[in-house]
């Protein structure tokens, strides 16, 4: 008798389960994001093909940009994009990490809550608004108070000489620095917050000051994540279009000074694509777009992996 009850309990009970059509449906819909990503890259490759076959790898190192002779090379734009992004990162990194350290502090929120809101609003302002502000307010100020004094005194240093201009690589870098700061500080703040509390507390317990704790313990622990945040911000800087197009001067050559006009990958597409005629010219511009999207996608994936692994390690 008892044995019979036991065997009945052990035997697996088969509950007939209807297929979860809702799950199938939502899973199907969720294809939208990955599918559009793949489709975008595929369409850009197809559109860029006339230029890819004509110029080959030489496209990336060519310095000529001539619509009349149909001769196109992307190096001036690659140069401008890399230089403006690098300068922007150099400016934004110390400021962004400082903001992140303050925002990540445990305890009362008050003033810091307001600071956080302000930094997030900085991210919400449309880039064209930064553009018009930079064009009419920042650029004249930069010329008068930074570019002219620096070229006068330090003009003998390479890349700091020449005739300073309002619309220049440097002005574009300044705008970029402002625009990537929120990304940098928000992601860094999350990483710093995920550093285990015990680490901070034990350091304070052996008598370290706030700054010693931050500099010798918290920041080294969050280093990988802050690096990830920096790479993420780099991706934003590379991709930024209109604000840069309005203040970089739009000159398709490699300048000899950061105070001279230049051009970036995104800006040349924005300015020239609507008027581009002919397969080769359009193809060259799309190929620039293709280079841009492939680089930013790689940078973004790298950054996401860095941030994720940093957080996972902090939580262990």
């Amino acid at each position: 008798m008892a044995a019979a009850v036991d065997s009945a309990a052990v035997a697996p009970v088969e509950i007939p389960r209807p297929p979860d059509r809702y799950r199938t449906f939502t899973a199907f819909v969720s294809w939208a994001a990955p599918a559009s990503l793949i489709l975008i890259v595929a369409v850009l490759i197809q559109q860029a093909w006339p230029s890819v076959t004509r110029f080959g790898a030489g496209f990336l190192i060519g310095t000529e940009w001539n619509q009349v002779t149909n001769s196109f090379g992307a190096l001036p734009f690659i140069f401008g994009t890399v230089v403006t992004s690098a300068i922007a990162l150099a400016i934004a990194l110390p400021v962004g990490v400082a903001v992140a350290v303050l925002l990540a502090e445990p305890g009362a929120q008050g003033v810091r809550g307001a600071l956080g809101t302000g930094i997030e609003l900085l991210a919400a302002i449309p880039s064209v608004v930064y553009g018009i502000w930079a064009l009419y307010v920042l650029a004249p100020w930069t010329l008068l108070h930074i570019e002219t004094p620096v070229t006068d005194r330090l003009g003998f240093i390479p890349f700091l000489g020449g005739v300073p201009r309002q619309t220049s690589l440097f002005t574009a870098s300044l705008v970029l620095a402002v625009m990537i700061l929120p990304t940098l500080s928000a992601v860094s703040r999350d990483v710093i917050r995920s550093v285990p509390r015990g680490l901070r507390e034990s350091t304070v317990a052996i008598g370290a000051t706030w700054w010693e704790t931050t500099w010798h313990v918290i920041l080294p622990a969050a280093r990988a994540g802050i690096f990830g945040a920096t790479v993420l911000a780099l991706g934003r800087a590379l991709a930024e279009t209109v604000a840069v197009a309005m203040v970089i001067g739009n000159r398709p050559e490699i300048p000899h000074s950061v105070f001279s006009p230049g051009y970036t990958l995104a800006a040349v597409i924005a300015n020239e694509f609507a008027e581009a005629t002919g397969d080769i010219y359009q193809g060259a511009l799309v190929e620039i777009g293709l280079v841009l999207i492939l680089v930013t996608l790689t940078v973004n994936v790298l950054a996401l992996l860095l941030v994720q692994s940093a957080r996972a390690r902090a939580l262990v």
């Binding site: 059509r21 809702y22 799950r23 449906f25 939502t26 899973a27 819909v29 969720s30 939208a32 994001a33 990955p34 559009s36 990503l37 975008i40 850009l44 559109q47 400021v95 400082a98 303050l102 600071l115 302000g118 997030e120 609003l121 900085l122 919400a124 302002i125 449309p126 880039s127 064209v128 608004v129 553009g131 018009i132 502000w133 064009l135 009419y136 307010v137 402002v178 700061l181 500080s185 706030w210 700054w211 931050t214 993420l232 991706g235 590379l238 991709a239 209109v242 309005m246 995104a266 597409i269 924005a270 694509f273 609507a274 511009l285 777009g289 293709l290 999207i293 930013t296 996608l297 996401l304």
Partner: protein
Amino acid sequence: MRHIVMRRFGNTFAQGVMYAFTVLALIPLGLVLWFTASNGLPAVSHLEFFLNSQRPTGIPGGGVANAIAGTAIIVGIASLAAIPVGVLSGIYLAEYGAGRWASWVRLASDVLVGAPSIALGLFAYALVVVPQHHFSGISASVALAILMLPVVVRTTEGAVGLIPNGLRESGLALGLPRWRVSLQLILPAAAPGVITGALLAVARAAGETAPVLFTAFGNQFLTLDPNRFMSTLPLVVFRDALTPYKDLQQEAWGAALVLVVMVLVINLGSRWVLRRQIRLARQL
């Protein structure tokens, strides 16, 4: 070990530097808001600014009605596509999101957020403008829908994930099928978070210039037909700001002010709603 006085001094000094950097970071925000307001207010203080369409330089009484209508229609169509798809994807990630496929969707969404918006414009150009042989509002909607999608996906996932499992289980215990639990119990509970996510996506799309440059292209005249050239507010700012004419520059500042006010209202409002939502979810 250094003397305690030096260490205290270093500590105070470092803290001062940190606070100085943070103030430095907020200066651009203040400057952008101040200059947009002071330069844009003279433009928006005339009612014609919102009622009339753009006029060539030298002719008074021009406005941005064409751009406001264009922005509303283009972003509206983009929202009709992006919000339902994004919400359902977000629900999938929150409800069934443990597997390998879900992590691919998450990665793709996160990467798509960082994709250059100008490349989305190129994509929409190749997909819609080339076959149609003319620029159109609808092609801009395609580009903006892709831009909005990942934002909606991730905010929906976050909002639905906040709803405690008890609600889900009580629905299932009553014998409701999964889809009714999800759409009639969970989604209404998560609605404030989902709606603010959608609004943030709308704000972002309405402020984008790069994807509409060679899709909507711009139009001096008022049109409500999304199959034709259209203007948007960011396009007005971009084109007018680069002209040498004072009256058009004024118009650009006015359009910028309208954009900034819209973005500020949506962002501050959504922060308030989200904070309330998190508090309510804790009480459930």
